[in-house]
């Protein structure tokens, strides 16, 4: 999907630039003569049928601005324009590659981790702590500055929340520190029927 959006954005950019170049050339050529002669700007406007466009858009705007029920076709057209604009923006700005959690980077050489296995590693480290029944980890790599490692952990009855948070935090700390991630650990009491029992 993203690949398609990027391709559409590239094609649209190319077509837009060619259209602008042609328009620039036409404007330069049609500025040679004045009044309404063959190579004048009013004649260029005629070629592009701008007077007819004006005669259509003016009454359309008048109708749109007038009182009456909601113009659903125009709502749809506006929503369509918004959707196209958002998709084009996504095609321009969405990153091409998966963002990685970077450990070290030197020129082209980089030590990094994909988000899913990195989260699995963090979860495995957290679940080794006694009393922890289940862990959910979310990793957000850094765009600028430090990324974030969020650990939501569930613990069994008979343990204190503070103790679990402290121990899980200590368990994932070496990983978070090495990859320069801010860690956030939240512990909750596990519910009955949890997959893991300790």
């Amino acid at each position: 999907m993203l690949l398609l959006l990027r391709a559409i954005a590239r094609l649209t950019t190319f077509v837009l630039l060619i259209a602008l170049a042609a328009l620039g050339l036409a404007t330069a050529v049609f500025s040679i003569q004045g009044d309404t002669r063959a190579l004048s700007l009013p004649r260029l406007a005629d070629h592009f049928q701008l007077p007819e466009l004006r005669d259509e858009v003016g009454p359309y705007l008048d109708r749109l601005e007038g009182d009456g029920p909601t113009a659903w076709i125009s709502v749809g057209a506006g929503a369509g324009a918004i959707a196209v604009g958002v998709l084009l923006l996504a095609g321009v700005f969405m990153p091409r590659r998966e963002r990685l959690v970077v450990l070290e980077e030197q020129d082209e050489a980089r030590l990094a981790a994909r988000r899913r296995p990195f989260a699995q590693v963090a979860a495995a480290l957290a679940e080794q702590e006694r009393g922890v029944t289940q862990t959910r980890v979310r990793v957000r790599p850094a765009r600028l500055g430090r990324g974030r490692l969020r650990v939501a952990t569930y613990y069994s009855h008979g343990r204190s929340r503070e103790e679990i948070e402290r121990r899980v935090s200590a368990a994932v700390a070496p990983l978070a520190d090495a990859f320069r991630l801010r860690k956030q650990v939240r512990a909750r009491l596990g519910e009955r029927g949890s997959a893991r029992v300790q």
Binding site: G24, S31, A81, D107, A112, P117, V121
Partner: protein, 200 residues
Amino acid sequence: MKIRQRIRERTSPVAYAGRTLLALLALALVWYGLMLVLLAAKVSPDKVDAISRYRAAFNYFAGLQPGDVTSRVRLIAGLSGFAVFPVCCFLAWKELPRPYLARGDLSLLEDERATITVKPRAIERAAEAAVVAHPAVIGAAARYGDHLSVDIDVRRGRDLAETMREAQLLVVEALGRLELPALPVSVTLAGFDRRRREIE
């Protein structure tokens, strides 16, 4: 079967100017699309015009007459159009994709009598064999392109950073042992086998 060949593309920094133009167009689409929705939903036209100036812009362009195109306007329009044409042509040229195959033979020697090349798969196999020698690594997939990148699967979460540094060092040492030129080596954690992880 793993597809190792990659098609990459060289992007000129100038191409970002064209993309900026497209982003502006997209923002205009979003903004005036929203104005159209507001007008169609019968929000006060004065309010919509106050935030977007759509009516003012339309009235200005609709009211232009041939007499408004003075010699000065023609000069400015002509010179602007003349300048826009080559700039936009250049930007459009820079937008054309220039793909290339990222993976190719490594040439060690080339003269009039002989050539010595190393196939990319040989380099990748050497890297993979070196990395899986690490006790914490259970699998590796290397790709030789602009540089050598190695995806690794690990079984041990503890000391992950150290494992990755050691994996990189193992690859660098293996290339040195094979008397291959020093390459930038990237290591990426691509998998963690929870079932096969060690009891730590």
